[in-house]
Amino acid sequence: MILFYSFAVIAVVASLLVIAQRNPIYSVLLLIASFGALSGLYVLLDAPFVAVIQIIVYAGAIMVLFLFVVMLLNAPHEETEYDEHTQMLRRSGAMRFGGFLAVVLVMELVWALSKGGQTGRFAGASVSSVALIGRALFTDYAFQFEVTSVLILVAMVGAVVLARRTS
């Protein structure tokens, strides 16, 4: 229980600090800390495989690319003073859209929390065993799995097309 609460507190506080940071590098690092805490929670749920995959895929692979991009974009500090142009931009669309998304998120959270107690069951397979996860992925969820693969392939092709020099 102590472990659960410490991991949970780390995850929540780190996630909150991600959006409170002025320096994007720190945001990335806090997100990694949050992922690490989540992976601790997975271990507590007796799902070491999921925990390790969380570290490899999210904390290891994806966040390294994030860090890479943030460092290469050379944007160490967020602009705090907006000039007239960005002010206009903020008022016109982006801010309304952001506000709308925030309201939707809060509604979703309220809806999810009001359903508290009825925790969903993992369909059939236990998540603790690699063999069972693999079997579930390639039998019950084969269609979803393949669709995801195609989606990722499309994204890859799209990235290559966008990045290709047109000369």
């Binding site: 590098i25 390790v52 490899i56 904390a59 290891g60 390294v64 460092m71 603790s128 690699v130 069972l132």
Partner: protein, 362 residues
């Protein structure tokens, strides 16, 4: 950790911490074992520094260190004392927090990876303990993936060191290193995957136990004979992962002064140095466990099999040092081309061939 009984032979201790009222002898032994591994890793780094300098000297027809202690054997100690008493410098424009954090991440990842690497069979310490103790800090049933996960986390130490130093050379070194490690991680992971296809387990202890015995009483059942290509890919990617020559781009002296640790001095530099050597030891230990049969070997019983383990790791470490002082550094574009266009396709083909072979022979 329950459920998959196949990955947990003879009721091995799980990774979950269970509170007990008293300190059981087993728990005490576990703590002692952890400390022992920690100290031994520190020692191995010191020994490797000495070996590296001596072998380099031999290859270049020099004497190497010979003044401090018998045959210069206390040279690492002198180095450590020198490093400890040096001044800790920090560039004015550096990001203070990350600058201090980066070497800590590097060293922590280096030590943490060894926690799941078994280095011997069960032993009762010549009858001292009632139940046999496994020579492994934590027996996790996804141990291979843990090694891989920690390897992928150790990139952060280098990247953050490069970025937070706020120096051109450091930044270039850090960026190069992250590109290199991401590229070679793929081949590294695929080589691991082909081994676990052959061994049909994610637990390193299981994999080592599957390599017991010999074919026709002559050839040991090591996975290196089943997976020769996988072994070569693993070794190559391992050298790139540990940033050793001929793949030591993050610290290519001629181009980048010292790469990501240009601005570091004193103990924070020592931590990067330590991390590099401990990573070498860990990669060699993992390669020994996965490909060279771990502690399995003729003449020695299981309780003293760790002697075989040490010998094999020492041979691999010598190979590492030998490579460093024999091969010149690649050019950076050659390194990336080799990683993506040669090593990765080879690893994919190897994985597919292994999967087909496993299906065919089972």
């Amino acid at each position: 950790m329950k459920g998959d009984a196949r990955c947990r032979p003879n009721g091995a201790p799980g990774t979950r911490w269970r509170p007990t009222n008293a300190m059981t002898p087993f728990l005490a032994a576990q703590i002692v074992l952890t400390l022992f591994v920690f100290v031994m890793l520190l020692n191995s780094a010191a020994i490797m520094v000495y070996v590296e300098r001596k072998v380099a000297a031999l290859l270049q027809q020099r004497l190497g260190p010979y003044l401090v202690g018998p045959k210069g054997m206390l040279q690492p100690l002198a180095d450590v004392i020198k490093l400890m008493f040096k001044e800790e410098l920090r560039p004015k424009a550096a990001d203070a927090f990350l600058f201090a954090l980066a070497p800590i991440i590097s060293a922590t990842c280096a030590f943490a990876a060894f926690a799941v690497v078994p280095f011997g069979g069960s032993t009762t310490l010549f009858g001292l303990l009632k139940e046999p103790l496994r020579l492994q800090v934590a027996d996790v049933n996804v141990a291979i993936l843990v090694v891989f996960a920690i390897a992928s986390m150790s990139v952060y130490g280098i990247v953050l060191a490069g970025w937070s130093s706020n120096s051109k050379y450091s930044l270039l070194g850090g960026l190069r290193s992250s590109a290199q490690m991401i590229s070679y991680e793929l081949s590294y992971g695929l080589a691991l995957a082909s081994v676990l296809l052959v061994g049909n387990s994610l637990s390193i202890t299981d994999l080592v136990n599957r390599q017991a015995g010999a074919w026709l009483h002559v050839l040991p059942r090591w996975f290196v004979f089943v997976q020769p290509l996988g072994f070569l890919i693993f070794l190559t990617a391992g050298i790139a992962e540990t940033n050793r020559a001929p793949f030591d781009f993050p610290e290519a002296e001629q181009e980048l002064v010292a790469g990501y640790h240009t601005e570091y001095s004193s103990m924070s530099f020592a931590m990067f140095f330590l991390a590099e050597y401990i990573n070498m030891v860990t990669v060699s230990a993992v390669a020994t466990d996965l490909f060279l049969g771990g502690w399995q070997g003729p003449f020695l019983s299981e309780s003293i099999g760790w002697i075989w383990f040490l010998l094999k790791v020492a041979a691999l470490l010598f190979f590492y040092v030998w490579m460093r002082w024999t091969l010149p550094r690649y050019r950076y574009d050659q390194l990336m081309r080799f990683g993506w266009k040669v090593l990765l396709p080879l690893a994919v083909v190897n994985l597919l061939a292994t999967a087909a072979g496993v299906l065919y022979f089972q």
